[in-house]
């Protein structure tokens, strides 16, 4: 592909004076500021609902809808009897580019199941949220559909998501978190 070099437009005399341009810029910012201030205040009193304010989401009071397929925190799917669906095949640790999944397999009491995860750790502060583990799983046992996007902790140890924690989580279900538009 050819690259076109654009000549820089030279500034006119007034522009070169600088002050005028600064005032223009401030005027634009100020207009939006006062407009939004006015509209948001009006919304507070239940007025002018049809006019939209700025795009800002008032987090954490308001939350956006997490779209389908969004890669939020992981969970492990349970079988009907509550046992992990995971068969400890270690395909997710194999694919994981951050090497943050650690599985220890054990002999399952059910001969039809072969093995199950005795331990299953996802070290979340290493995870890059790529979702490859979800793709790799042959039995759809690991999913990133919890809708939980907040991941902070005081301690590194808290980032180690252990098996029972992962099994205890549920998918994001309706009603979806409250949002300003819905």
């Amino acid at each position: 592909m050819e690259t076109v070099k654009k000549e820089k437009r030279s500034l006119g005399f007034l522009e070169q004076l600088y002050v005028g341009e600064v005032v223009k810029g401030l005027a634009i910012t100020g207009r939006h500021f006062f407009r939004n201030l006015f509209i948001h205040t009006a919304h507070l009193f239940g007025l002018m609902k049809s006019r939209k304010g700025a795009v800002t989401v008032q987090y954490p009071e308001e939350r956006r809808v997490i779209p389908a397929g969004y890669r939020a925190r992981h969970r492990l799917v349970r079988r009907e009897d509550g046992s992990p669906r995971c068969v400890a095949c270690m395909l997710c640790p194999t694919i994981c580019p951050a090497q943050c999944i650690h599985v220890r397999a054990g002999e399952s009491p059910d001969p039809a199941i072969e093995k199950y995860p005795v331990e299953f750790n996802i070290v979340l502060d290493r995870c890059v949220m790529c979702g490859l583990c979800v793709e790799a799983c042959p039995v759809d046992a690991i999913r990133m559909d919890t809708g939980i996007v907040e991941m902070s902790a005081y301690d590194r140890e808290e980032f180690v998501n252990r098996r029972d924690l992962l099994l205890g989580m549920n998918p994001q279900t309706p009603p979806l978190p409250k949002t300003r538009h819905g």
Binding site: V87, C89, T94, Q99, H102, R104, G106, E107, A112, P138
Partner: protein, 506 residues
Amino acid sequence: MTGKAMPTLTIDGKSISVKPGSTVIQAADRLGIFIPRFCYHPALSVVGSCRMCMVEIERLPKLQTACTTPAVDGMVVHTGTDKVRDARRSILEFLLINHPIDCPVCDKAGECFLQDYYMEYGLYTSRYLEERWNKRKVFVLGPTIVMDEERCVLCSRCVRFFDEVSGVKRLGIFERSAESYLSTYPGEVLNDPYCGNVVDLCPVGALTDRDFRFEQRVWMLKHGDAVCPFCARGCNITVDYNEKSGIQINDRRVYRFRPRYNPEVNGYWMCDTGRYGCRTVDSPERITEPLMREGKRIIPVVWETMIKKTALRIREVIDQDGPECIGLIVYPSVTCETAGAAKRLFVEHLGVRNVSTGFPVDPSAYEDDILIRKDRFPNRRGLEEAGLSGGRDAEWILGAWGKGELKLLYVIGDDLPRLLNKQKPSPIFEAEGVLILQKSTAGPEDEFARMILPSVMSLEEDGTFINFEGKAQQFKAVVSPFGESLGSGDILARLARALGLDTETA
């Protein structure tokens, strides 16, 4: 055929002369042309039952099995024609009729013949509409071997191993055609000292090893070459290991020992004692740091202090009582290099004469004609060659030590038979003098030790073992030293330096 002459045949355009009586598959193997196989194994008899090794031979109307067809002069063989590929695909389709294809949970996945061949020749869309047969899944054949009947391709390699190599008929294939299944003879369990080999032999995931089962996926393992340190045979082995990144759950580094082909020493096999000896490498009893006794307590110290104090002790005894009051025991578990270093330091420089190379071979120990030797140490010959043996015997040294005639006893190496068999009593080193142990794994004698210098195991250092037949086998370190342990030779060199001796020679 032209009498005794070497028949010359052409396989895929390459020609080769082979010994009369060789088969086509042997000729192909020598040429480096791989013909897929399940039942054929170079060390077992030929049965030609799996039909996987079909090849096209010019002037013969039908495909032939390469493992049963003798090589004939002027034969022209093709291994990659469409006809051959079709045949392989059909064989695989048959094999997969009742196969569970549970590769994600199958321990063999990644090194499975069936999986590999199917990736190459498979049909991919199943045409089988009938109900699959379910067979026994977790079927225990012995204390170490578990069988999955659904995965078995009935190649009979395991059956022939017991019949022909380990010499006791234990396994058989029962019933006929589609109903055939593999099982032990009634009342038999697989408890040979060589059982583990059938797991390596099994081309699919039908036989799995309790020790390795579910521990790790094979594609995560790295491989290193080593020599088994658990008997005087010195079988060649492949070590499957995975060094950890620190946050992993499993602290194990060495997962599996497998035999490595060496026609001069062990052929294709190894014994179970050696195989499961892999557990000793990452055993929780390994000593991680130098330990010193202060009164009743044992405290960890840094290496510099350890070496300095040890040298000081040795110097003290030599100056006060002379080298006659020092005893040295070198177990035949150490490498030739360590033995040489010990000889130079203790015998040549310090003038120690009470030297012994451990304890005599237990005459009641198990031995057979296949591999296992009575002598459960790897390097007795090496110590002889290094000129360490022929001094005092260990009984004499221990007697003198017990009576207090020796003021200092330095022991190098591990009592390997005791590591493998915890019940076996270890010699007791209880006495007044200074006992210094240089070894890798904790033991009952530690109680009496003044100093413990952690050294590596043979898997963690370079070295040489000389087996009972006098074959010297060199090996390289496979995994890094455990904890803070150092190579045995390195410890001795540091000691020599601390003693003010010429480090070039010690």
